[in-house]
Every structure is written in C-alpha cells, then in structure tokens.
C-alpha cells in the first residue's frame, strides 16, 4: 500500500538531493575536518559551505551558526546560555504552548533551580496577547523564549516584535523556530533575535543534526564543553554527513521557499476545505490568518484521535493527534487545552502537516477516506446524537 505522509511536522523525508550530497561522506570522504592532512582537511570546506548555505537561508552570517545535534540541544543551549551570562536576572518569559524542548526545560528551571517563569497564555485562536507580553517582560527578565511557529497548530507568533520588547529591557530573545525554518522567510540580520533553534529533519535533511543561531555580540556560554569545534561553542567532532545534509536542505528550502509555499498552501487549503465540507461537527483549531502554509489541525467532535489515526493508518494515511491516548499521557495536548478547545473536540483533534512531496491525488484520497472513518467511529460513540435510551431503565 502506498503511504500518504501528512505528518511532516513530526519529521520529513530526506530529499533525494540531500541523500546524494551526503553519500560521499558516508563512504570515501570520512575524514575529520579538524585533521591536518588534506584527506580530512578538505572535508572542512564542505562544512564551511554548508554553514554558509544555512546562514543564507536565515539571513545570518556563517559565524553566527553553531551546529548541534538538533532542536532540543539548541533550545537548551540558548536558554541555559542566557541564564549563565545574566546571573543577576532570575526571570524567564515563555508561552504555555511551547514544544516540550522549551516547556519542560522551563518547568525544570522553575521547580529545581528557583527561576521565576512567566507563562504567556494564548486565546482561542492560539494567539498571544501583546499587552500581556509587554507586561511580563521586565528588567528582571534574563531570557524570553517564544516559538516562531507552533508544531501542533502551525500558528505563527510575532517573534521579531517580541524581540524588540526584550531588547528594550536588556533581556535576550530566543526563538524555537524548528517548524518555521524553511517554511517562512526569515531574515535574522534585521531582527533583535539573539538565539534561534532549528532542526534538520524537519526540512528534509537527516535526524541528529540541528543548529543554533547566536547573534553576533551575544554573550555565550557553551552547553557541551570539549574540543575547539564550532569556535569553542560546541565541543565534539562535527557530524559531517548531518551538517552537509542540513546545508543542502537549507539550499533547497531557500530555492523553493516561495513556489513551494504557494503550492503546499493550495494543497493544505484544499484538504481543509474538503474535510470541513464533508464532515459535520468539525473545526479548525488555531488561527487561519497567522499560520504556516503546510499545517492544519482539525477537531472532529465526539470521536477520539487514536481511533481515527488507527483507521487512517489502515488506509495508509499518516498524521498526528493531540489526543491523550496517542501521547502515552492521559491528558490531551497542552496546546489545545491552553487554547480552550472545547472538550467535545479536543480528544478528536488531528494534525495534518504537508510537504513539497505531497500531491493532489494524495489529498483527494484523504478527502475521500476521512468521512467514512469519522462516520464509522461516530456510529460507535455514545455522544453527539440524541440518546435513544434513558440512562437507567426501571423494569
């Protein structure tokens, strides 16, 4: 069975060009870029090129890029560096809807390290209240950490505007841009963002590679201490295949950004409209105005997400759910709860996230399959229709 992959916010397929680009580094060119001999040293030039390509995508300079193992390491590095370089400030401002990489780190810092964390709330559309943002950032704030785009809903936050507010108070600005990089234009050169975290496998590179942007002039305290790699900012022999993959993926993203965005957006909109019009009691979770072009999160009322995913899986369709049952925890997505999604819909919320590799035929297939799946599960559900029998019949 063909797989229709609509779970690109979880991870993406490796681009064919990326695979070709890294092949030599998994075979003949295995040298260490720090070596003195040319066998290794020549590899350093490929690392340099990858760094430049990634910098280009971000509107940054190559010196501002630190390669890491992924989004989570970049987030931890940025936030802990900010706290280490500003020891007199003991407050963090972040949002209730961050990815666990930031959310759980901040919880840990509050619980075990004595920092005060201000959790910014979101409205029903998943948007921040800028008045609240302004009221929470102060001269006591060490770091403001706000994601650029939400992984579950695709909702985009005005991080550049927030960075200006942070700068006015002398606080550092970090953004988890794992979902945004490669999907929306980013120009860090003209922003006050100090740190930006990104992950390779979300933009058709490979898993195990990521990067942290550190604005020139930002004081930095390394998270992983070891050799002199990455200009003393991240110890450890370079993950050369990963770095080359990320560079090539960045080059492809920059090249395709506009065309891809409009094509993917059209497919996403078609999927969304097709599902909403054929399935009653369904709704989009999150703002449709400030949103990534590849993501839609739809709540199907009175049915449960894991059951939907299992039936979709049976038809070869891959997506994700914010339902409790899929996560292994018993509570549904913290993002949807923070948005106040009604409980009739929160357990039946499905995230579809597309990529440049999806086709019209695939979208049509999903639009054809989903109504039957939801209708079947609703026929099993005791909710969402007039109950035919009284709760307890006395005989």
């Amino acid at each position: 069975m063909n797989v229709v992959y609509l779970d690109n916010n979880a991870t993406t397929g490796v681009a064919p060009e990326v695979l070709e680009a890294i092949r030599p580094f998994l075979t003949d060119r295995y040298g260490n870029p720090s070596s003195m001999h040319s066998f290794g040293g020549s590899v350093a030039r490929d690392v340099t090129r990858a760094r430049a390509e990634l910098a280009e995508l971000l509107g940054a300079t190559p010196q501002e890029i630190v390669f890491t193992s992924g989004g989570t390491e970049s987030d931890s590095t940025a936030i802990l560096s900010a706290l280490a370089t500003m020891p007199e400030r003991r407050e963090i401002v972040t949002t209730r809807v961050e990815h666990p990489a930031v959310l759980n780190l901040c919880k840990h810092l509050a619980r075990d390290k004595g920092y005060t964390v201000h959790w910014l709330s979101v409205d029903r559309e998943g948007l921040l209240d800028m008045e609240e943002v302004r009221s929470k950032i102060s001269d006591r704030t060490a770091v403001v950490s706000v994601m650029w785009a939400n992984n579950e809903t695709g909702v985009i936050f005005p991080v550049e505007e927030i960075a200006d507010i942070a700068r006015d108070h002398g606080a550092l600005m970090h953004t988890d841009a794992v979902q945004a990089v490669g999907k929306i234009p980013i120009n860090l050169g003209s922003s006050n963002i100090n740190f930006l975290a990104l992950s390779g496998h979300k933009l058709h590179a490979v898993k195990g590679i990521g990067a942290l942007y550190v604005k020139k002039g930002t004081r930095f305290s390394p998270f992983i201490i070891g050799g002199h790699q990455e200009s003393d900012r991240r110890g450890g022999t370079e993950n050369v295949p990963g770095i080359v993959a990320l560079g090539e993926a960045a080059r492809l993203a920059a090249q395709n950004l506009e065309a891809e965005n409009s094509r993917v957006r059209r497919l996403r909109d078609r999927l969304e409209a097709g599902l909403l019009s054929t399935i009653s009691a369904s709704r989009v979770n999150g703002s449709t105005r400030f949103r990534l072009s590849n993501t839609t999160n739809i709540g199907f009322e009175f049915v449960e997400g894991e059951a939907i995913l299992m039936r979709m899986d049976d038809k070869g369709i891959c997506a994700s759910s914010g339902s409790a049952c899929t996560s292994g925890s018993l509570e549904p997505s913290h993002v949807l709860r923070a948005m106040g999604v009604p409980f009739t819909a929160v357990h039946g919320s499905i995230r579809f996230s597309l990529s440049r590799y999806n086709t019209d035929q695939e979208i049509q297939y999903v639009i054809d399959q989903l109504p039957g799946i939801i209708a079947f599960l609703r026929s099993l559900s005791p909710f969402g229709r007039e109950n035919l029998a009284a709760a307890c019949i006395v005989h």
Binding site: M310, D314, C325, I393
Partner: protein, 282 residues
C-alpha cells in the same frame, strides 16, 4: 505507537455488538467526553433466569477502549449475571491477548460498565464504590474505593500502575500522595492477611518501634496532611496501639476516617503489620 495484539486490532476494526438495544432492561454508563473515553452498555436480561440474552455497546475512546468493549460483550453474552460478574478487568485484557500497561484502564472501564448495568438491573442506582468513595483524583473523577478495588484485584504496588489501571493521578498529579496512602493501606491489609509473604521482621523494642513510627509520621505522613491544611501528632504507643491526634483541618474533615486508615496502612507497611491506629483527642 502502541503495540496492540492482533486480537485488539481485530476487535477494533470489526467490533461486535455495536449500537443501542431498544428493549434493554439494564444500562451501564462509565466515563465521559471530558475524560477522553466513555462506554455505554445495554443489556437484555431474562428476569426468570438472570441470563444475559443480548448486549450492545457504544464507546467513545481509543483503539483499546473500543476493543475492550467489544470483547466484554462477547464474554458476557449468554452467561448469567452471576457468572458474568466473575469476569475481572484482567480477564478482559487476557481475552484480547493482553493490553499495553498504559491501556489497562480500558479493561477496567469495561468491567465497571457491566457492574453499573447490573446495579441498574437490580435497582441499585450506582455501584457502591462510586457512591460511597471519597474523590481522590479530581482530574478524572476517581474515588478511593475504586482505587482500592483495582489495587486489590490486580495486586498493584506503584502509583504509575494505579494510573495505568484507573487514570487516577494521570492529570495534575496532586493526588499522588493520597494514592500512595491507599496502596500502602491495601497492601498493609494484604500483608496482614498473608503474614509470611511480607518480609520477616525481627521483634522490636518499644523504643525502637516509637522511633520508627515517629520517623514515618514526620517524613511520610505529616507532609501529606500539611498539604491539605491538616496535621497529626503521635501521642503515645500502647503495645501495638498507636495513639494519634489529628490537627487542623483534619479534625473536621469528613474523610478523617480515611486519613486514619491511610496512616495505619503506612505504619503497617513501614513499621509493623500489627499496628493499629487510634485517634485520641489532642
């Protein structure tokens, strides 16, 4: 991704006995939309023989909730009520070739819905533990009586297991101390019933016993009570009678009986299974 058995998948994709039974004479309902799963069970019982002639279900929930409901209906159909009442949540899980640990609550939901339906049939409005128990987990509405039963029936020993089987403690986590107390209480009783299975203890002098009791009260019990605005003080030890005075909010708390039982369970578990707690006026 969950590792579901083939039988779970088979019952999920082809659930048996789905729907509403128009001429049912017993209906059992557990769970809610807010909790993420719910089961409504319809039974047609022959009043002469108490045999279950027909059964239907409606389930809102995940794959294993639907499969557990379907399995339950197959297991009870054609049996008498008394026979079917013998079916435990473990039997449902075994029928399905096992469930992931985190999904055991689905089998408990099946068993509970059946017991609720039987209570309905017998004109007992709701099973006893839901009516009489004290609410422990506010997130998922689980009472101490429900937790006690599941701990006993499944021989559970950790909070995590209780969460897997009942959902209790799977939300905000504020009830973890209470759940630990209930586990200790039930296991204390279990240990008492089977004195040789628990670890062998050397006889203690009174002073050793008092020191140990004092330590458990200070480290385990007082912090738990103080969280709820209560407190406790060790007044005396008379043989195996531990005399305690409840303080603060505990004195007027309707669940003072439970608090006492919880303390007794802890002391039985950690100090001596022969201890009995008595409350005295402070």
């Amino acid at each position: 991704m969950w590792e579901y058995s083939d039988k779970v998948k088979e019952h999920f994709f082809n659930p048996r006995n789905v729907g509403v039974l128009e001429d049912s004479n017993a209906v059992g309902e557990v769970g809610s939309l807010a909790c993420g799963d719910a089961l409504k069970l319809f039974l047609k019982i022959d009043p002469e023989t108490d045999r279950i002639l027909d059964v239907r279900f409606q389930t809102f929930g995940c794959g294993s909730a639907i499969a557990s409901s379907s399995a339950l209906t197959e297991m009870i159909k054609g049996r008498t009520i008394d026979e079917a009442m013998e079916i435990s949540n473990r039997d449902i899980a075994e029928y399905l070739g096992g469930l992931p640990d985190e999904k055991m609550h689905c089998s408990v939901m099946g068993r509970d819905a059946f017991h609720a339906a039987v209570a309905c049939y017998r004109h007992q409005p709701v099973p006893k533990e839901e009516l009489e128990g004290e609410l422990v987990c506010e997130c998922f509405g689980v009472t101490d009586e429900q937790i006690k039963r599941v701990v006993e029936e499944n021989n559970l020993s950790t909070i995590e297991e209780v969460t897997n089987y009942t959902k209790a403690g799977g939300g905000c986590g504020q009830c973890h101390e209470k759940i630990a107390g209930i586990i200790a209480e039930v296991r204390g009783q279990l240990a008492q019933e089977r004195p040789d299975v628990s670890r062998a203890r050397r006889p203690m002098t009174n002073i050793q016993k008092i020191t140990m009791i004092q330590e458990v009260v200070e480290k385990e019990i007082r912090p738990m009570l103080q969280q709820d605005g209560g407190d406790v003080e060790l007044v005396d030890l008379d043989g195996n009678r531990v005399l305690l005075a409840l303080r603060g909010i505990c004195t007027s708390c309707p669940s003072a009986g439970l608090t006492k039982a919880g303390i007794e369970g802890k002391l039985k578990e950690l100090v001596d299974p022969d201890l009995v707690v008595e409350e005295v006026a402070g």
